[in-house]
Assembly symmetry: C2
């Protein structure tokens, strides 16, 4: 096992620096030896087989600070990323995720995994990022408006998060989005930290059993930590994923929360980790149930129109997208991977009365309680 | 002629109130007589045959204040709307514009004309609006930031404008957008007024002759009014239609200006009217030249990807769209008619070197001077 981890780390290190290594190919025997030697110095008890790519933070540093929340969060999101990617691939016949590990010159980086034009998934993006630097002014203003006390001057921050959006081919399979993140800001001598995140479902056709299963899975997870979480975070989700100009929610909701910093850092982490682990059981059964359903051209076109609404929400209202795109050095391809492969806008489209399309709109206009 | 105008006005009035009239159908002979009588009282020298629908302002009022800029602008944009819609229809085999005349409960209304799923035009929207009320706080802040001196308290405003976006089917035919508007704000005892607008072209494949023809038509129009206009407004256009996160312009530009209030109101109006009238000669020849060009699936997919960029600009950066969607009572269907019927987002798409797609990107990344 230990040897396997070691070899895997070397391989990942190699691919990560393939461009630079290529120039050194003529010295390859010497060079390979050197890599092995250097890597052996950074050998750790971290099994990188559990990840889609090498962590952003050097393995040494992660191994030597296992109790630091920054390390715990990075390792957790890397594991969830791989588990979720593998679970999605298992539903595909052959299409696999492509993996982009990228670095940000201002500090940190990320691993973006995208599967496009699959048989089951039209576009699936699963991204982790671990970034640090000084907070940009827009972010400072946003955080202060949420009640954070932050001094003037440079505010060093650390953020680690996972986010994913899965747009399936079949209109009977809903789209899922989730995002879990940990934030630290140093203001004066004090380090402030909090967690945020959520999971939400966007069906194209309403299936009540799906909505109930999805919400029940989230509620069971929340209830294990605090009975007040699910009702509060369910409402927060309905309020957040709102398209005011249309008077519609984006989907049937889920949970959403931010600024979670009690009862303790460890308990918050366990809650967030459990939410992230609940994504697979909340969603994959819905994929399995509907991925081979037959559908008509009309149903496909309705799916594309609803994807247009998804684009409207993400580009006009989503704080994450706006914050991301206005941040210098942001990797826009990773931010915009949430957009569907195809979307459609028709002027004045209105579903017929008593149609399945109308039944969906009804619950988007008047959010429901799916579990009690 | 006079009789024709009178009958046309009655017909338009009838259609405009068709819903209400329907309830009165049982009294139809009496009723028709009454409509004719009442309409005769409002007879005017305005030929409504020149419009797609009745003006927003009552005909009486428009006739009795022919020298008021508000009347002149409303009549001008109504005529340009019809001329442009008819010019586009002439390029189609059979598809016609549908006409929606709408009212806004806060004051004013508009006429939205949309042609969808045509043989030549996938989606064409030509909208006029004539609105009034008190400026919303967001608009006040935006205008103050541009140097307008506005008092505190209610600020009554009037705005009349035309805007259009034409997305053709054939990837060899470019998309065109134009918008011309007149604004009045009453602050204290003073009425401030200004004009704004522009016309810009978004090709999917670069055709230098098209770009030159388009810019030359705009330049000739500008030069008739002020030799400094074209170079200033061309640069303004390149700066405005920018997608910073991609480092690309939306298209090959055109002209764009705002806050135009000299040398005189009349001269500004004549300039704006001439620009609006230049849309047909700048664009229709390009449609005629390329609408029957053959194209491949790859070219169609590239067009859809570029339409995704168009959506990104309109939903993230365009001030008109943002201002519109955040304004209470705004008619979002008229604002969002600018979005294409279909758009596409692929992760990390990059055209091949020395490809026609790459040649377009080159001029989007480094705007060119097309005429001197």
């Amino acid at each position: 096992m230990f040897f396997k981890v070691f070899v895997k780390n070397c391989t990942l290190l190699y691919y990560q620096h393939e461009g630079k290594f290529a120039k050194l190919r003529k010295y390859s025997p010497v060079f390979t030896g050197a890599v092995a030697f250097l890597s052996s110095k950074s050998k750790s008890n971290i099994d990188t087989d559990e990840f889609m790519a090498l962590p952003i933070t050097p393995l040494d540093k992660l191994s030597s600070s296992p109790n630091d929340m920054k390390s715990k969060m990075e390792l957790m999101i890397l594991r969830v990323q791989k588990d979720f990617c593998r679970a999605l691939e298992a539903e595909e016949d052959c299409n696999k995720f492509i993996v982009d590990r990228w670095e940000r010159k201002e500090g940190g980086g990320g691993v973006t995994c995208v599967l496009q034009d699959g048989k089951v998934f039209e576009k699936a993006g699963v991204n982790i990022s671990v970034v640090s630097g000084n907070l940009p002014p827009g972010a400072v203003a946003q955080m202060r408006s949420r009640g954070k006390k932050l001094e003037n001057g440079d505010l060093p921050f650390f953020a680690a998060g996972i986010s994913a959006v899965i747009h399936p081919v079949n209109p009977m399979v809903p789209t899922i989005h989730f995002n879990y993140r940990y934030f630290e800001v140093k203001s004066g001598d004090e380090v402030q930290w909090w967690f945020g995140g959520g999971t939400d479902l966007t069906p194209y056709y309403l299936n009540r059993a799906d909505a109930v299963h999805f919400h029940q899975t989230l509620k069971t997870t929340c209830d294990r930590h605090d009975k007040s979480y699910y009702p509060r975070f369910k409402k927060w989700c309905d309020d957040y994923f709102n398209i005011p100009h249309r008077g519609e929610r984006r989907g049937v909701g889920g949970i959403f929360f931010d600024d979670l910093d009690e009862p303790s850092q460890e308990q918050c982490f366990e809650f967030v980790r459990d939410c992230a682990r609940a994504v697979i059981p909340s969603y994959i059964p819905l994929v399995q149930r509907h991925k081979i359903a037959s559908y008509s051209k009309i149903e496909r076109e309705w799916q594309l129109l609803r994807r247009g609404r998804y684009v409207e929400f993400n580009l006009i209202y989503d704080r994450g997208t706006k914050f991301g795109l206005y941040t210098p050095g942001a990797r826009y391809e990773s931010i915009l991977m949430s957009l569907p492969l195809t979307a459609r806008w028709e002027y004045m489209h209105e579903p017929k009365e008593n149609s399945p399309e109308g039944a969906l709109l009804e619950v988007l206009r008047n959010p429901k309680d799916w579990v009690v």
